[in-house]
């Protein structure tokens, strides 16, 4: 098992060991904001060489699941600063996973005024949990349209 404990250095990956914490959605980000509880959770796991965070949405449309974090507002950036500081103190590196859920979504999980967006309008089979309405069928997404502003 020695292989797991050898350090790894390539580019920005200057890691104390080869063990990575895989990205895991945990739905603790109330109002899509990273918080102190999340900083504690990640710090506890900073024995890893590298931590990859839970899927985090680049935009309100990508927040298909309940209580997942975003990284598009200043308040979210400030919340994540607590997490990165705590993890770096623990000696691990940390990458943010950018997850846009696309059609794996329900409108009840998105902030007011937003609708799920997909590559096409083909709906996913099955259901998704929402805080407001329990289990619901996946949304029929709006098709992502290529415009000057959306590029």
């Amino acid at each position: 098992m020695k292989q797991l404990f050898s350090s790894y250095t390539k580019g920005v990956l200057q890691l104390k060991n080869r063990v990575v914490m895989a990205p895991m959605t945990r739905s603790r980000a109330l109002n899509n904001l990273p918080n102190e509880l999340m900083a504690t959770y990640y710090k506890q796991r900073s024995g890893a060489g590298l931590i990859i965070t839970e899927g985090t949405s680049p935009s309100p449309e990508g927040l298909g699941y309940p209580r997942i974090p975003g990284i598009y507002s200043d308040a979210q950036v400030d919340g994540w600063k607590m997490v990165t500081k705590a993890v770096h103190e623990g000696g691990a590196k940390i990458f943010l996973q950018l997850m846009h859920t696309g059609r794996i979504a329900h409108i009840a999980n998105l902030p007011e005024g937003y609708h799920p967006v997909g590559i096409s309008d083909i709906k996913a089979a099955g259901e998704i949990f929402t805080d407001k309405e329990g289990m619901q069928e996946h949304a029929v997404p709006k098709v992502w349209i290529l415009t000057e502003s959306s590029i």
């Binding site: 920005v12 914490m21 680049p58």
Partner: protein, 204 residues
């Protein structure tokens, strides 16, 4: 869409992250783009393999201009059907990931992270390894023993663990000490609060 990813990546660096990983796996929007049965677009982001890979590659190219390619990783899950992603022709699947690996190599990103499964043929693994010279991370169903073997035989540079870290905050220490592992509490995976989140037992 593309510009929101770029802003998000810049925000991530501002928040102190060492880099970003694009979730190109498990049926979310980037894999929806890769899949010929979900992606029925008729513009430059749909159709042949190059076009279906274009969204992911364009996003990476634009992000790299702002934060640097060396701070970007990508997660992929060839042959996975999570998120109601229909399987497609094996030859085309292999070509898709071989093409992606070589384009990602040109772009000079930090790593490819493979969400492994027994459905992935050896050929696909080999094509990714030979087309991509930077770091490869493997994940899914690994134990400390199988993970160590993957590093020894050169198929992985780094090894990732999901549920083991979820239930064992001090997972690395437990491997080192040969201590028993906690079980995952599946009832509290996604529930708010500290139960099943920050209260898993830590070795004294």
């Amino acid at each position: 869409m593309i510009s929101s990813f770029v802003t998000a990546a810049a925000n991530a660096i501002r928040a102190g992250f060492d880099g970003v990983e694009l979730h190109g796996a498990n049926g979310y929007i980037l894999e929806q783009s890769l899949n010929p049965h979900i992606n029925n677009r008729t513009d430059i982001y749909g159709g042949n393999i190059e076009n279906r890979c274009r969204l992911l590659l364009d996003i990476i190219r634009e992000i790299s201009k702002v934060i640097g390619a060396e701070k970007v990783g990508v997660r992929v899950s060839p042959y996975s059907t999570l998120g109601d992603i229909p399987a497609y022709n094996a030859e085309e699947t292999d070509q898709t990931y071989a093409y992606l690996a070589s384009e990602l190599n040109h772009l000079g990103i930090a790593y490819i992270h493979i969400s492994d499964s027994p459905a992935i043929p050896e050929k696909t693994h080999q094509q990714i390894r030979s087309n991509f010279t930077n770091t490869l991370i493997y994940c899914n169903g690994l134990t400390p023993e199988t993970a160590a073997a993957k590093i020894s035989d050169g198929s992985a540079d780094l090894v990732a663990f999901g549920r083991s870290f979820l239930a064992n905050p001090d997972f690395v220490k437990r491997i080192e000490k040969n201590a028993p592992f906690n079980d995952v509490d599946y009832m509290s995976l996604y529930t708010p609060g500290e139960q099943g989140y920050t209260n898993y037992a830590i070795l004294p």
